[in-house]
């Protein structure tokens, strides 16, 4: 028996799992409907796929949410997991699920997939026969993704960097890399049976003034870590940044470099997709304004040429959205996509060149780390600040990079810390900003820059 299979048997002999039947699950994936695979829909490429967010604790409510989404003409269904499951605390999620079922009050902020189990969940997924995307935030997602794939969920979001640096203070990063290696291998193995399982990285990170070069570098590295384990379908992603031009430039550079670096490791046969998140920062309380913001994000996603858009709702500022508000966003977004025709082709060569230089310099510094494997190089690079994510709560992150917005609302680096931003690019970024102010005014500007959409 392979080491991976031994590890799988240990993971799946968890007391919260009701006997995992490996052979039956493999048979299910092999014969599953192509419609359940988002990789299959990407191949057909008719239009930008629309995917909302959403997860409720009980089967009944999740089922009802999916009915609303299907009525609103959804392309991809989400399954958002509750925060106890994300931290592998299945005992608490079990208790809270029971309370939610008995009292008709939601005691969890998502669907506790491990507690429901794959036999139950599969009934729901196959009933709707739409691709489902797993949304979580789990550093150790081994049991979760085994359960997800067995349920018919063939897109897995996350990664060792993007699900750790924005969400955790002190979960060990080296462990996260190893746990995600397991996830990649399991996805790669199942991909041989039918259409490929799609992996998606979480580009928004902290959604707080992250410069595009850091976003792109992390997208590329998670893509490489995934492809080197044999994954054949991967989505890189980023969120609306605040400047339409910067979004278009980011999308163009990300697409080009994803192809470039995949080819460098002889993985050109893997399909790479681009996902765009509607604004992930602080939302306006005014629900009509929120709808305008959402609509604008859809227009930008089209300009960027995204393969999939992930939506927000008009209730974003006030808490977990109702299924009605969530479905409304889906139909509004589909409407906007349907009437967006004859888009201009915008190319900003100077900005593209600057961003490409930044990304390549950081990637080169990562590759030059003396460690023997890619994940160790990336780990060391985060530890020594070559990769630095603004506003990450994690203790390993340096937090020495400072970014602000220029007059056109582009995110610019005004202090690079240990990140090897080339001098020319650094001077260019700083030249766009007013740096004559004292630190107190700059801090006030940062506060303003974070809240620009409110």
């Amino acid at each position: 028996m392979s080491l991976l299979q031994e590890e799988r048997e240990i993971i799946l002999s968890n007391e919260y799992v009701d006997t995992f039947d490996f052979a039956e699950v493999a048979e299910f994936v092999k014969n599953a409907s192509k419609d359940l695979f988002i990789s299959h829909h990407f191949k057909k490429k008719n239009k930008m796929l629309v995917q909302p967010r959403g997860g409720f604790p009980t089967y009944k409510k999740q089922f009802a949410l999916y009915e609303f989404f299907v009525d609103a003409n959804v392309d991809v269904l989400p399954l958002t997991i509750d925060s106890n499951t994300r931290l592998n605390d299945y005992a608490t999620s079990k208790k809270m699920l029971r309370l939610s079922e008995e009292n008709d009050v939601d005691m969890l902020n998502g669907y506790p997939l491990v507690n429901h189990g794959y036999r139950t969940t599969r009934k729901m997924i196959t009933n709707f026969n739409k691709p489902v995307s797993l949304r979580h935030g789990t550093p150790d997602a081994r049991l979760l993704i085994e359960t997800a794939i067995a349920s018919g969920i063939f897109e897995i979001e996350g990664g060792p960097i993007t699900y750790l640096l924005p969400y955790s203070k002190n979960f060990p990063l080296d462990k996260a890399f190893l746990y995600w290696k397991y996830v990649e291998r399991v996805c790669a193995n199942y991909s041989k049976l039918n259409e490929p399982i799609n992996r998606e990285s979480f580009g928004p990170l902290t959604a707080t003034l992250v410069p595009p070069s850091i976003t792109i570098v992390i997208q590329l590295l998670e893509m490489l870590l995934s492809l080197e384990e044999g994954v054949k379908s991967f989505s890189v992603s980023f969120a609306q940044q605040g400047s339409m031009n910067q979004d278009i430039v980011t999308g163009a550079v990300l697409k080009k470099l994803a192809k470039h670096y995949a080819a460098e490791i002889d993985c050109s046969d893997a399909a790479i997709h681009l996902v765009y998140h509607q604004w992930m920062g602080a939302f306006p309380m005014n629900k009509d304004y929120a709808e305008q913001l959402i609509n604008m994000a859809t227009v930008i996603a089209s300009m960027v040429g995204a393969d999939k858009i992930i939506t927000k709702t008009r209730e974003e500022a006030s808490g977990i959205p109702t299924k009605e508000a969530n479905a409304k966003t889906v139909s509004n977004t589909q409407y906007t996509l349907g009437i967006l025709n004859g888009l201009p082709n915008v190319v900003d060569e100077e900005e593209e060149e600057m961003l490409t230089l930044q990304v390549k310099a950081i990637m080169e510094a990562v590759f030059n780390d003396p460690a023997d494997t890619l994940w160790r190089k990336v780990f060391n690079s985060i530890k020594n600040g070559i990769i630095d994510v603004p506003f990450s709560p994690h203790i390993i992150n340096h937090n020495n990079m400072i970014t602000i917005r220029d007059a056109k609302k582009n995110i610019r680096i005004i202090k690079r810390g240990n990140v090897p931003i080339p001098d020319r690019c650094y001077a260019y970024d700083k030249a766009q900003c007013d740096l004559t102010k004292d630190t107190t005014s700059i801090v006030n500007d940062i506060i303003h820059d974070i809240g620009i959409m409110q």
């Binding site: 969400y167 203070k169 506003f391 990450s392 709560p393 630190t439 107190t440």
Partner: protein
């Protein structure tokens, strides 16, 4: 002057915490930032270890209220912390409340300066005034 700061409890909201660090540095303080998700013991341990003059605790989700009830008891177990300036700020209740009720309550918990939904620079000005007043009082004695 040395300041130990951080976000109390299981609160992971990091943005203001970073801005507090930047602003304190700009005002010339030596900052020891414990970051988010910090327990009271860790604050007091760090204050002893660094010889801090100020302990500045913040809270966004309001869970400070629960933790603050233990401040006096816990602080009394440490030596050398009698002169430390205790400051707390952010959203100091879960849900809504008004400052007139909240400030005296927190002063009772053992804080010298209490800022409920006060903006960052106003709060830091309050700290400066407090330090100045205390120094004049001491030199008069």
């Amino acid at each position: 002057m040395k300041v130990v700061t951080g976000v109390v409890g299981n609160d992971i909201h990091v943005v203001a915490n970073r801005l507090i660090e930047l602003s304190l540095n700009a005002r010339g303080y030596e900052v020891f930032n414990l970051g988010v998700n910090t327990y009271l013991e860790e604050f007091f341990d760090a204050a002893v270890e660094t010889g801090a003059d100020v302990l500045m605790i913040s809270s966004l989700n309001g869970e400070a209220e629960g933790w603050s009830r233990e401040v006096k008891l816990l602080k009394s177990k440490y030596k050398n912390l009698d002169d430390i300036i205790m400051m707390i700020g952010g959203n100091l209740v879960v849900g809504t409340g008004n400052a007139e009720d909240i400030v005296p309550r927190y002063k009772n918990y053992g804080f010298d300066i209490v800022c409920h939904q006060v903006d960052l620079n106003t709060g830091l000005d309050l700290l400066e005034t407090f330090i100045k007043d205390r120094d004049t009082k001491e030199s008069n004695e």
